[in-house]
Subunit: 147 residues, 2 copies
């Protein structure tokens, strides 16, 4: 799944290749994406805030993509509706973004609405740590729509 997801991202979202995104882990429970400082550096020699947000968005998108594929055979389009990011510490190295599945109750409520109505929304979170501290706290709402 890791290589397949990485190829999909690089092929369909060229900016993911420009950002040097690598899929570190891609299982239904969590997705971890990595990216190098060099491709995402800013004028302060830290990671550009736009890159941090973009990699977090792709981590959450990927987690939802994997879980929707696992759920049933229907095809879904995933759309981001909103996002909120708090940048707490600048990152001066390569970095990894982790997006974990929300609690089971949240997922089951989402899946139930999606199967009944063909569309539903879910809130996902991702985080980036730096030197053992939370550096970026990301939250976003995604909509899945049956196509």
């Amino acid at each position: 799944m890791k290589k397949q997801l990485e190829n999909y991202l690089h092929e369909h979202i060229p900016l993911s290749k420009a950002m040097g995104i690598e899929v570190i882990e891609a299982v239904p429970e969590k997705v971890i994406l990595g990216a190098p400082l060099a491709d995402n550096i800013n004028h302060k020699k830290t990671v550009f805030g736009g890159s941090l947000h973009a990699v977090a968005t792709l981590a959450c998108w990927s987690l939802l993509y994997i879980n929707l594929k696992k759920m049933d055979s229907a095809q879904y389009q995933i759309v981001i509706a909103d996002s909120q990011v708090s940048y707490q510490i600048p990152i001066s190295s390569d970095f990894q973004v982790e997006c974990k599945m929300p609690d089971q109750e949240t997922w089951q409520r989402f899946a139930k609405i999606l199967l009944a109505k063909g569309k539903a929304r879910i809130k996902l979170s991702a985080s980036i740590s730096h030197h053992g501290q939370l550096a970026v706290d990301y939250h976003a709402t995604f909509a899945a729509i049956q196509i």
Copy 2:
């Protein structure tokens, strides 16, 4: 200022070059950045949400950069603290992001604190329209710190 800002972004934030960002307007009242669909496309053939957020971030950063340069001769570092984005319509073409100065009272309060304390925060907004409708509504808090 336009070409100077564009060169600065491309040189110091390589992702801005990968996104094909062009400075359309760069005056103290507003900054407009443009970017092509091709470099920022996603799997749905619309603009990747991460690109929309990243270009909006750079538009706001640039507006603050221009106004701080104009304000006084001190050097300031500009850091993004948080951002909130609402994605209202998918964009299926090249796009432009506009960031305007906040009202004068907000700016003057910010400038007064910055000059007195050497650091201050300000909220800026940017927007992206598509076919005459608001497509992306972006808000972020930036901190300026005297260096």
